[in-house]
Symmetry: C2
Subunit: 545 residues, 2 copies
């Protein structure tokens, strides 16, 4: 027997329609690539998104067609999000920081019909266009006055929409319809496409708005610093219209001074981004002895947030730090480190220790840690194992079936997505990432966290960068090898560094050897390329073997 | 093309499973009918709900079977919510304040298989049981020691579950499956059954938790004063486990002293209920010069909240009042009066005026006001018309098709549920109820609000109660007739009362006549029975006709 409630599919278009009807006057402010500030309202954004939907139709874009974007956070990117998904096409956000050959692969794999790009990326586009034969048009996200000279026959965004009426009714369709697409940039193999649906996006937006997640109210002024090409900007382009928040888009200017200026002029209350951006912001305000007038909360994710950053934000600037964790395959939100009553009553030092953890799942996400045999490990804050997750906004498979079926089924018939992270979970359900699964060192049946060892090495004043990999060992299967870049001019001996680990990690975790190098290999997004290190050092002979 | 996210139906059981896994230690506290306080955790609630699910199976309860409850807010009622819906049966909450013949009608119409009841309602149950032939068993929600003598062969709740293991895996099924049932008590015709689904309940719970709705965090201690037999206690039995709030159930003791005591001993931060309860609470704290140590927010709905109550809560007790509106057919939440940025900057008096409105819709609910021809009326805060709503947690039809298709379709093919309320909407999207559709007085093609006239009359110091109905008029179709109960011993003449209206309402709204009576007829739930008044006064001759 079915319930007798209205049958209404969850649709992304309804978010913008809601914002238009109930927050029509609320502003969306953008720092533009062309220079200057653009300012309009949800009502105007909705009107222009409908014009763009008509324009896409006129270009021959049909349901399920992929539309690529190479763009910063700004009002036109926001309009593209809604015009594509709202008309049943698919918004494919592409990370412009990837290597050009990766972008070519992604555009062709996704079979993008049109690609919209910010002027910043003109050269990039001119370089890749000859290799993207399937793309029927490249649209410069600007007006006629700013159209660049180009080797390509470009379309102009404003011309495109100006020719079209805003008379457009968002169609209603199956909520499982694909809405948007984002490729993960793995350190091995080709990027894989994560295909979101209207259903997953709306459920995720509801969850993102909750008080113990991003906590979004209509009185908030939100600046998504996290890029819209990076896992839906953590849902903010959806969760902000849902709540009616004023939005402030920083464009390409992510330096501390520019971010600070927008925070102050636009009265930003909440923001979200990766640690690097906040480092720049904190340096700027410290150097100039500045204060935040309205900024009160920041969500930090993407990589682990340094404990010192949490402390500085909270003690020096009265800004609450919400440490969060997720991944492209999770839409991306999984956990947020918000306190329960027990934690709210802890002393401040204990709270800081807790805030270093990535937190507890929002309802909708379930998680567990398992050993090599898939057996669930205890929640004691010590045992660490592969982190598995499940939920209605978590990937079941990649576009085109790339990489095969990623899911693992447990004894109760539940299917779980292996995150590739290794984590602990404490008795209160707070999760902490300790490593990537492929980086963890398996020594004598026990696991050693490469990240813990790297963090310990990095705490030495003479160390600039450190990486730890597992190297084959005849007795223990693998043992840790520490690879270090010294600070310029610093002197540091192998023995002195190993001595530094004493008392900081378990004795059997101590690296078996140290190698000093001039630099470490990195991925396009700045992560240490451990696959390369493992390849380079696979024949490394550890002392005593 | 479908998205490639996990296909996971929304299931009510997952709320309690989530609370168990991530908030297992968090308490649920109940004032019991037997006397004393009961205290346990989400983990224990989950364990006992699984035992009850096994017990229901052993009783022969099958998917889609209806299980009735006649119960206060308490831990066993909470367990029944989850054991029934979680096992694909239907939790049918019955309002014990209805007339016994209405309850008999409801139990039989719903075809309840078993009815669970609190000891308070033993006499009621003994009275109706002979007329409810389809009920296979009556379960007293108590333990063996408290089992009453009865004319019936009762089952005992604790005996029932003690015999069963907690080894039970919640089944997974279509999210549109019916989960729970609640009858509306109209003032005309038989009660009609509203049948919720797992999908509607989960979507509604997400929305309810949002910062601009009930704003529920894991640090909150929530007391649902609104009964669990009244439209899902405004979602709190679902939205609290979702967020991990501590819950405090007041049982049958809703007097000011009892509520206050639990607020203080259990450190309640947030509560929700109808104005009558808060009146009792405020009287108690005022009489005894008390303060609230932790109570900071209250949601008030069910009927319009008197402006003076909002002011007292906020000014004297620093308790934020959230005026809310909804109905059984809406799961029930529709609007909450939370400020946007513009309103947050208003002066306090302007804010109080705004807080008298029922507020703006949570995302998921859309609304509009229309005239007699279905034409949408402007959002100017003045025009009032029939309030229509739509959304995935709003009724499409009643159980058994009672009353026919309630929905109205607009020109764009959208279906809307007519709330039976008449309202204004202002330019910021804040809605205010001005009347019930059937009570509005249609005079010369214009509408007159009976509620506004009644409120004006009630403001006269000699008036105890007032009702305004439309009476047939040869020229104007209808004109208002004011029917008044004077305060004991008060003297009040017709002309004096009419004079009192001058300057307070539009001139053409002035009642054409006044009738003084000893008492007004009421429904079982305390509302003035206007159908009876209209019947009694249909031949009333207005002066000048």
């Amino acid at each position: 027997m079915h319930g007798l409630m209205m049958s209404m599919p969850l649709q992304i278009s309804s978010l913008l329609r809601h914002a238009d009807r109930y927050h029509g006057d609320t502003q969306i402010v953008s720092r533009t690539v062309e220079g200057g500030i653009h300012r309009y309202t949800y009502s105007e954004a909705h009107r222009r998104a409908r014009q763009l939907a008509n324009a896409l139709g006129a270009l021959g874009v049909r349901p399920a067609d992929r539309i690529g974007t190479l763009a910063w956070n700004g009002f036109r990117h926001f309009e593209i999000y809604y015009a594509t998904s709202g008309s049943a096409a698919i918004c494919h956000t592409i990370n412009p920081r990837l290597f050009p050959e990766q972008i070519v692969y992604i555009v062709n794999h996704a079979a993008d019909q049109y690609v919209f790009f910010d002027l910043t990326f003109l050269k990039l586009v001119e370089g890749i266009a000859p290799h993207c034969k399937g793309v029927r048009g490249w649209v410069a996200m600007t007006d006629k006055a700013h159209m660049p000279d180009s080797t390509l026959d470009l379309l102009c965004y404003e011309d495109l929409i100006n020719g079209h009426s805003d008379d457009y009714t968002w169609p209603e369709f199956d909520e499982n319809t694909a809405s948007s697409l984002c490729y993960t940039s793995g350190t091995t193999g080709n990027p894989k496409g994560v295909l979101y649906s209207h259903r997953s996006t709306i459920l995720h937006a509801y969850a993102a708005g909750l008080p113990d997640a991003l906590n979004l109210a209509a009185r908030d002024v939100v600046m998504p610093v996290v890029p819209m090409f990076h896992a839906n900007a953590w849902s903010l382009p959806y969760a902000c219209p849902l709540a009616g928040c004023k939005m402030v888009f920083p464009g390409a200017a992510l330096d501390g001074a520019s971010v600070y200026e927008l925070f102050e002029t636009e009265k930003v209350t909440m923001s979200a981004g990766v640690p690097t951006v906040w480092l720049g912001l904190l340096q700027h305000v410290e150097q100039h002895d500045l204060r935040f007038s309205t900024f009160r909360r920041t969500v930090i994710g993407g990589s682990a947030c340094p404990p010192a950053m949490i402390r500085t934000f909270e003690e020096s600037y009265d800004v609450q730090v919400l440490h969060a964790w997720g991944m492209t395959e999770m839409s991306p939100l999984g956990t947020v480190c918000t306190f329960k009553s027990q934690q709210a009553n802890l002393d401040r030092e204990a709270q800081y220790a807790l805030q270093a953890k990535q937190g507890r799942p929002i309802y909708g996400v379930d998680m567990k840690i398992v050993d090599d045999d898939g057996k669930e490990l205890p929640w004691d804050g010590k045992a660490f194992g592969d982190l598995l997750v499940r939920g209605p906004w978590i990937t079941a498979e990649y576009l085109g079936g790339e990489g095969g079926n990623p899911l693992r089924e447990d004894g109760e018939g539940r299917k779980w997505f292996p995150t590739g992270d290794v984590a602990t979970i404490d008795r209160d359900g707070f999760m902490q990432i300790t490593d990537r699964s492929k980086d963890v060192i398996k020594s004598g049946g026990e696991w050693i966290s490469s990240i813990d060892l790297e963090n310990t090495a990095m705490a030495h004043p003479a160390v600039k960068e450190a990486a730890v990999i597992g190297v084959v060992h005849p007795k223990w299967d693998e043992r840790p090898l520490l690879i270090v870049v010294k600070k310029p001019g610093a002197a540091l001996a192998r023995e002195e560094l190993l001595q530094f680990f004493q008392g900081k990690v378990a004795k059997w975790w101590l690296p078996d050897d140290v190698v000093f190098v001039d630099e470490l290999p990195h991925t396009a997004t700045g992560k240490v390329l451990k696959t390369k290190l493992r390849e380079d050092y696979k024949a490394h002979k550890l002392p005593g073997t």
